[in-house]
Each structure stands twice: as structure tokens, then as C-alpha cells.
Amino acid sequence: MSAGALEGIRVVELGQLVSAPYCAKLFADFGADVVKVEPLTGDVARQWGPFPDDEPHLEKSGLHLFMNTSKRSVTLDVRNDAGRSLFLDLISGADALIENNLPQQMRAWGLTYEEISTVNPNLVMISITPFGQNGPYSEWNGYDLNAYHLTGASSRYCGRPGEPPLEHGTFSAEYFGAAAAASWGLAAIYGRENAGGGQHVDVSCAEAIAAAFVGGQNIGAYAQDGKFDKRTGVGMSLGAPATILPCKDGHVWILCLETAQWNGLAKTMGDPEWMQLDIFQDMFSRAQNADAMYPLIEQWTMEHGKMEIMERCQANGVPVSAVFTVGEAAEHEHLQSRGYIVEQEHPVAGPIRNLGAPFKMPACPGGPQTPAPLLGQHNDEVYAELGKSAEEITQLRQSGAIG
């Protein structure tokens, strides 16, 4: 195991499901020592699956196995006095705490930033919540779905007019929040001397998207002109072709905005006469005549497979791509050749495939180092590091402070 870029950084995670665990996974996969603190019943991700053959098992949940690579797991009940005290011991020696509990929950546990910073003023506390630490919705109950739809992203960019706006079908808001938290949080750790100590990094998943995705493209226009747009159900309404079309065995993303690309598409399609018509000679005019154009392109795509369409279009300089299923993406020779899919041996789940590092750092490589830990696998090890004797650990276990 090579030393990762973040070797020597100590992180405590008090999080469940996606946002905080994914942020902490980025730290762990790149060399930080991440101790995941789970309730005695375990991270809820352990119950969400997917499971091999759909048989639920706390150690075999796909969500857990993906989100928690390279971490150590301890169980601890922060509601228990001895448990809370143990938690404070843990963070007293840490560089960062990554958590995704609602602010009122942290308050009820006596774990606000004010309380935590008295224990360790150098600690960077990274809080990732749907709505953030302040503002009128900060104490709203919320999940990925609620956060995502509060951003304008779905109303503006996904779904058919008159039908419900759509999330992406994964945990998009939680991932976006986790990405922002990882970058801003790592900067706060790296720049602690500049900053003069630790601090609280407050990430709202909704706000990050409402700002950097939706706001970036729309807010200046709305503030100045008071106008805004909504979803159309088509990939792009101003230029065409730019949408997803069905083909013989699935779907393809047809994108063809520049003249050279349009000529490349015509060549790929065997130079049909209609493509020479004046109304199809620039992307704006094509968009105005999209209702006539898309069925003509679709006639052609329906006769061909998605991989063939992608390959032939790309060879002619046209940025058309196949809509890969998850399996097609994972098994594509490109990702195979880059070593993106990794094999792990998990003590209970057995051999599992996982996704590798999201970026390659050749001087200090990252990616999953160890499979996701068993529930409380590192209790004895971590609590011994805190100076607890075997006897004390037994006592903590008997009192219900740890599992």
C-alpha cells in the first residue's frame, strides 16, 4: 500500500447514507485515516442494499460497500454519557470531523461546533446537510430528493412540460454537497496555518446546486431581466440536434451543433437529401424545425445499434455518444484498460467489484485500499489507541456506550 496524498490526516466521520460517507471516502481512499463512527445498529446504508440475490445482510449492502471503502468502523452511542465522552476523545486528536446530521440533532447530542471547538480548536468540522446550518429551512427534515428539488435544477432542466420535474435517479444533491465539502474541507485543513486554526465548514447540498449549477447559468439573467426558463424535455431547445433519441437497441445522445459536425453526421447517415435543405444548415434553424428533423434522424438511428452509431459518428468528428447502461459503462474496454474497476475481498461478502479512484494521482495513488469495514470491526483497536484498557472497553460495551 503506497502512501496516499492525505496520509497523516485523521478524520472522524459521524455520518450515514451518502453525503458525509462519500466525502469521507474521498479522504480515506487517498490515504487519510478515517474512523467511521456508527450507531450500535449501524449506518442505515447497511439496510438499503442492493444485496446479493436480494437477501438483506448488514455486511453485504452495496451502498455501504461502495461508500465506506478504506475506513475503520467503530460503534458508539453518542446519546450515552460515556459514549459521548469517548466521541470527544476521538475528535480531540483528529484533524477533521465529517458529519451529516440535522443541526437540531447535533444540538441535542451536545455536539455543536461551539462545543466541539472547545475540545479541539484546530479541528475542521465539515457539516453536510440538505439545507445548511442557518436560514429558515435549516431545521427542515429532508433527504436528497427534497434538497435537489429546492434548487431549480429539476424545474429548469429535467422533465417534460406539464409532467413532474425529475431528479437524476441517484443521490445527485448529496453527491454535489459531498464534492463541495471535500474541496472546501480539505482546503480548510491544508490552510489551517493561514486561517489561524480550525473552523466550521457549512455545506448545504441544495445551496451548492442552486448556486454553482442553476445560479451560474440563470441567476444573472433573472436578476436583470426578471425572466426565466423551464424544462422542455429536449436536450437543448436553442440549438439542434441535441437530445436523446431511441435506436435499435437502446438510446443515443445526438449532439451536432457546428457545421462540420452536421456534415459529419450527414456523411455517417449516407448523405440523405433532406439534410441539404436550407432550413437545416445552422443549429438555430434546425432547432426551429426540430419537430420535422428529429423523426427523420430517428428513422436512421432505429436501424442501427448504439455502439455502432457512436463509433461511426465519432470517426466522422461528430460528438454523438451511446447512452450506456451502468453495465455497459462498467464493462467498456476503456474503463477496463484504465483499471477503473477494482476487485476486493470482503471477509463476509466475499469477492466484490467496486469502482476505483475518481481521479489518478500518479505520485501518490488513491482508490479503495481496504473493503468497507464490518460493523464495529475496529472497536478494540481504535479504543485502545485512545488509551482504553481491555477492561475499560468491556465496561463500555456492557454499559451500552459501544457495541
Binding site: Y22, W48, F51, P52, D53, F66, Y113, F131, Q133, G135, W140, L145, N146, T151, G152, S154, S155, Y157, R160, G162, E163, P164, L166, T170, A179, A182, S183, W184, Y190, A195, G197, Q199, H200, V214, G215, I219, G220, Y222, Q224, D225, M236, I244, H251, W253, P319, A322, F324, A329, A330, H332, L335, N354, L355, G356, P358, F359, M361, P362, A363, C364
Partner: protein, 406 residues
């Protein structure tokens, strides 16, 4: 809040263009780095030409969306088609800690600024490349836009109505996502450099980074050979219901409701005054509700359709149910929550007009992020070429005349 920003003292040469690369520069700038985007009037970035424009006056320094997405990046002009400009770019890199770029593989080499050249100029340089599909492999030259890049990850295959075809996301979610996440390996590499003296060339494949978003669905493929399909707003792993977006009383107004725990289901039922249908045994457990989700959602939609979206969200929140209005773009700017958090800020552009951009979307308690307006083309030429590189006035004038600095 008077302390220095975390990345104070870090200088970045940003060759990034369009959206993702500039957002990486912006992220580093929010955090205190000095970032110079290198661009040229010989090839104005497409995003600088997108309307609407400040005060409605068209011009490459007036695109409001461009300014919001690039804010924080400084700007210097170099016509990199000219060898002399490439030499100056290398001189600038020698005074930098980080190079950012999001061209296709090989373009930086053509510009005389490949990694091998730059590391000779500046040992320890951190070069961050973020091409669509990485620096090597059979698809390294794949042509995509940010809009369609997600098709290569499986993410697009998950987006759409239940039982229907994939529905396109109409803008490049992956661009700001990758732009922001890209700052993470850059800072990690700076830490590694500080500890070892060693720089590196980071290979950030946008495809691979975004594909982590389908990690949960990938595990189902890896374990069970199943390929997930579009499922509307239903729970991505199918473990809970109701979970969706439901109509409210006005046109195109909706409320999102996510019921994950049994306790939340009880609270929702109570908030609806325990209607008879909700106590149907077909809706008793989470598994029952997931099995009968179409009926469940239809019944719930009949109920939500009677109410205003904000009132209903507030009412459900008071009952402890995770519910929120579905905002459109027009709801954002004056929403009390985003106002309280200072999500959007009005700034004055160097050309004198006001523009509204987003500010620090992450709040940091000790250091207040640096928020700047969108860059005017070449606004930092004097600072970079005269102050940092020490180019004498007469040579500077000549370089401008020769359209090297251009």
C-alpha cells in the same frame, strides 16, 4: 474573520475553458488562491458570447452566465498560437504552483505547455488535466459536451419517468460538479508537494469522477447483473415510499415528499388527518408501499393537489415530514432561505455595470470566501506581465502591438 484564506499564497495558471476548468479555478479562488485564466481575443470562449448581456448590451465582456461561472478567475490574454506567447505562458507557469486545463489530451503539448515541458520549467508544479475520459485509453479522444458526457457513465440511463426512455438533463450538471470536485485532488497534490517536493500530473477523467454518482446502481450490476432503469423521482434503491414529486394547486407547482421511516409515514398520515385509503393494508409497511407505489402516489397526489406548494411544505414540515416546494428559477433569488444565506450577490463588474452572481455556496466560520465579479478579458495583464514577470514597458508595448499579448 480577518484571518487569511486557506489557499493564500497559491498561484494558479488556468488554461481551462467553457465551464468545468474555470469552475476549478473559481473554487481555488474562493479559497484564497490567485488564479489567472489564460485566454485570447483570437478565439473568444463560446461562453463569453452567450446572452443575456449586462444592461442588454452585447459584448464578450458582458455575458452574465459566463461571469457567474468564471467569477474569481483573473484574466490575462496570450495568443498561444504564437511561440512567443507560449514562452511567456511557460514563464508564468514558472511563477505558479498549479496549472489547470480541460482540453482534450495532447492539446497542451501542441501549445508548448505539456507536462514534461512545464515540470522542467517549474519542478514541483501540480498540473491538473480534466479531459472528458482521461489522458489514456481507447476513448481518450472521445468527443462529448458536458451535456452528454454523463451518457458514458450510466447516469443518463437512470434519468427519466418510471418505465419510460431516458430523459436528457438540459444542461451540463457534470461541469460544475467536476469543477468543484477537481479542487480536491489539486489541494491534495499541493499537500504532497509541500511534504516531498514532488509535483505531479493529475489525470482527472470527468467520466470516472461522475460515474461515482452511479456507484449504488453499479453495485447492483456487480452483485446481481441488473441494469437500473429510469424510475422518476422514486427512491434510487427502491427501499421507501412514498418518494416523489406531487402536484399542487397552481400550474406547474409541485411538492417533494420523501417518507423513509415508519415514523415519517405515521406523521404523514396524521398530517392528512388519517384518510381511510392511507390505512389500507396495501400501504402498511415500507415493502407494501413500494409494492403498491403507483396507487399510493396517485392517492397522495389527489391530496396534495388541493394545496399551495409552500403552505403544504410548511405544514408537512411542522408534522415532521420531509417535504419541500419544488422551486423554479424565478423562486430562487428572493427566497428567504437563500437570502439569509447570501447565496446570490450583486457585484459591480470592472466595466461598471451591476451583475448578480452566486457567492460562496459553502460557509466557512473563520475565513470569509473571496467573491469577485466575472473577469474582463485581460484585466490582469499589467499585474501578470509587468509585476510578476517583470516585462519592461517597451517590450510589453511591442508584445501588445504584435498581438502576442492579445
Amino acid at each position: 474573520m480577518a484571518k487569511n484564506l486557506p489557499l493564500k499564497g497559491i498561484r494558479v495558471a488556468n488554461f481551462g475553458w467553457v465551464w468545468a476548468g474555470p469552475v476549478t479555478g473559481q473554487t481555488l479562488a474562493f479559497l484564497g488562491a490567485e488564479v489567472f485564466k489564460i485566454e485570447s481575443k483570437t478565439r473568444i470562449d463560446l461562453t463569453r458570447t452567450l446572452p443575456p448581456f449586462g444592461e442588454g448590451v452585447p459584448g464578450p465582456d458582458r455575458s452574465l452566465s459566463n461571469h457567474a461561472c468564471w467569477a474569481g478567475n483573473g484574466s490575462v490574454t496570450l495568443n498561444l498560437k504564437k511561440p512567443e506567447a507560449q514562452e511567456i505562458a511557460r514563464d508564468l507557469v514558472a511563477k505558479c504552483d498549479v496549472v489547470v486545463e480541460n482540453f482534450g489530451p495532447g492539446v497542451m503539448e501542441q501549445l508548448g505547455c505539456g507536462y514534461d515541458v512545464l515540470k522542467a520549467v517549474k519542478p514541483g508544479i501540480v498540473m491538473f488535466s480534466m479531459p472528458a475520459a482521461g489522458l489514456d485509453g481507447p476513448l481518450k479522444g472521445v468527443r462529448t459536451y458536458g451535456l452528454s458526457l454523463t451518457s458514458l457513465t450510466g447516469l443518463d440511463s437512470l434519468t427519466g419517468y418510471a418505465g419510460g426512455p431516458p430523459i436528457p438533463v438540459e444542461n451540463a450538471y457534470s461541469d460544475p460538479y467536476n469543477g468543484i470536485l477537481g479542487a480536491f485532488p489539486v489541494i491534495a497534490a499541493l499537500r504532497h508537494r509541500d511534504r516531498t517536493g514532488q509535483g505531479q500530473h493529475i489525470d482527472y477523467s470527468q467520466q470516472e469522477a461522475v460515474m461515482h454518482m452511479v456507484g449504488p446502481a453499479f453495485m447492483d450490476f456487480a452483485m446481481n447483473g441488473r441494469n437500473a432503469q429510469p424510475k422518476g423521482n422514486r427512491h434510487p434503491l427502491g427501499v421507501a415510499a412514498p418518494h416523489g414529486v406531487f402536484p399542487c394547486s397552481d400550474d406547474d407547482r409541485w411538492v417533494s415528499i420523501a417518507v423513509i421511516t415508519e415514523d415519517e409515514w405515521k406523521r404523514l398520515k396524521a398530517a392528512m388527518s388519517d384518510p381511510e385509503w392511507a390505512n389500507d393494508p396495501r400501504f402498511e409497511s415500507a415493502a407494501d408501499r413500494v409494492a403498491n407505489i403507483d396507487d399510493l402516489h396517485a392517492k397522495l397526489a389527489e391530496w396534495t393537489a388541493q394545496y399551495d406548494d409552500r403552505d403544504l411544505a410548511q405544514r408537512l414540515q411542522s408534522a415532521g415530514v420531509a417535504a419541500a416546494p419544488v422551486f423554479n428559477v424565478g423562486d430562487l433569488l428572493n427566497d428567504p432561505h437563500y437570502r439569509a444565506r447570501g447565496t446570490y450577490v450583486e457585484v459591480t463588474h470592472p466595466l461598471g455595470f451591476k451583475e448578480t452572481i452566486y457567492g460562496a455556496y459553502v460557509k466557512t466560520s473563520r475565513t470569509e470566501a473571496a467573491v469577485e465579479p466575472g473577469p474582463a478579458i485581460g484585466q490582469d495583464n499589467d499585474r501578470v506581465f509587468k509585476e510578476i514577470l517583470g516585462i519592461p514597458d517597451d517590450r510589453y508595448t511591442q508584445l501588445v502591438e504584435d498581438e502576442v499579448i492579445y
